[in-house]
Symmetry: C2
Subunit: 156 residues, 2 copies
DNA sequence: AAATGTACTTGCAAAATGCAAGTGAAATTT
DNA sequence: AAATTTCACTTGCATTTTGCAAGTACATTT
């Protein structure tokens, strides 16, 4: 599977990488669901096929959006985390969530999260970005491993 | 081609409709390039295959994102325009452009447009939305038919 | 009336996706 | 320490989607 650049348009070029039904769901899982392993991703509600999952993780790694690291607590697992390039997709994902909230039939839990985004996107963006960056430091184990389904927002 | 909903997540549900390499390019063309006909879309730099184009226009119509109308100036053409639901995708598209601008190799023209978005997203959003809504009124012919490649922004 | 423009449709090959069943190393259970 | 289970994939194959080239039908132009 090869990625070909179709034009020099930013929309087209971004879709060359992310324009499929699965890539953004993996990013969503890391970004908002506290997921970090192959097994975590495989268990999501959308039931991605394992070969597709392996393929997308490889492509997202090659694209510099996720990084594959040794898992800090088990040699049997790998730990996938977002790079800065991946974290920078958060505003895009938030707009996807806002549009989805407005026009699609979604869960009550998702509506609550959308409302938080609508209320103060900038603050939530910053808070969640900080959390994701902690996955890139020693603080990881303490703060972020327990998954937060609807991430609580700190006022401080 | 049937759309199946994979879960009640807003990201997943949005991708069920827009998660492919072509749909958002058609929306981009209407939204930012002043394109409105099948022939316009077929001529874009990415060279979409005509069968795919016909299929996506049908799906976007079914999804309520675009509307197919008689062309005001020719019985040989149809006029595709965005619905409110489609216009509401503008913030999402703008974030795609901003991310693409930051990380992809794109044209100078696109970089200029990205800079306009970065400078005052809210104002540009409003100005362009107004223009798109004019396609839905009698004012259409006067204001919007000439395509604006890098849309000029009015200060008033 | 003939040529061209416009919006598609059709047929077929190639590629991507989806499903089920493996594989091998690490962790856990017995 | 042997057996079982967990984990991260890989493989094979059927189905679906995409891409390409050519064709069709109606509208407009010449």
């Amino acid at each position: 599977m090869k990625i070909r650049k179709r034009s020099d348009c930013p929309v087209s070029s971004t879709l060359d990488i992310l324009g499929d039904k699965w890539s953004l769901l993996i990013i969503r899982d890391i970004m908002f669901q506290g997921k970090n392993t192959y097994g975590d991703f495989a268990q999501s509600a959308e039931k991605i096929a394992t070969n597709i999952l392996a393929d997308r993780l490889m492509l997202l790694d090659e694209a510099g959006i996720v990084e594959k690291k040794d898992h800090p607590e088990s040699k049997a697992k790998f730990y996938y985390r977002l790079t800065e390039k991946g974290i920078d997709l958060m505003p895009l994902l938030m707009e996807v969530i806002l549009w989805g909230d407005k026009y699609m039939d979604i869960s009550a839990e998702a509506r609550i999260f959308a409302r938080q985004i609508r209320k103060d996107k900038g603050r939530l963006l910053k808070a969640l970005s900080v959390d994701l960056r902690k996955q890139r430091t020693k603080e990881r184990a303490r703060t972020s491993l327990p998954a937060t389904k609807a991430p609580r927002t700190r006022t401080t």
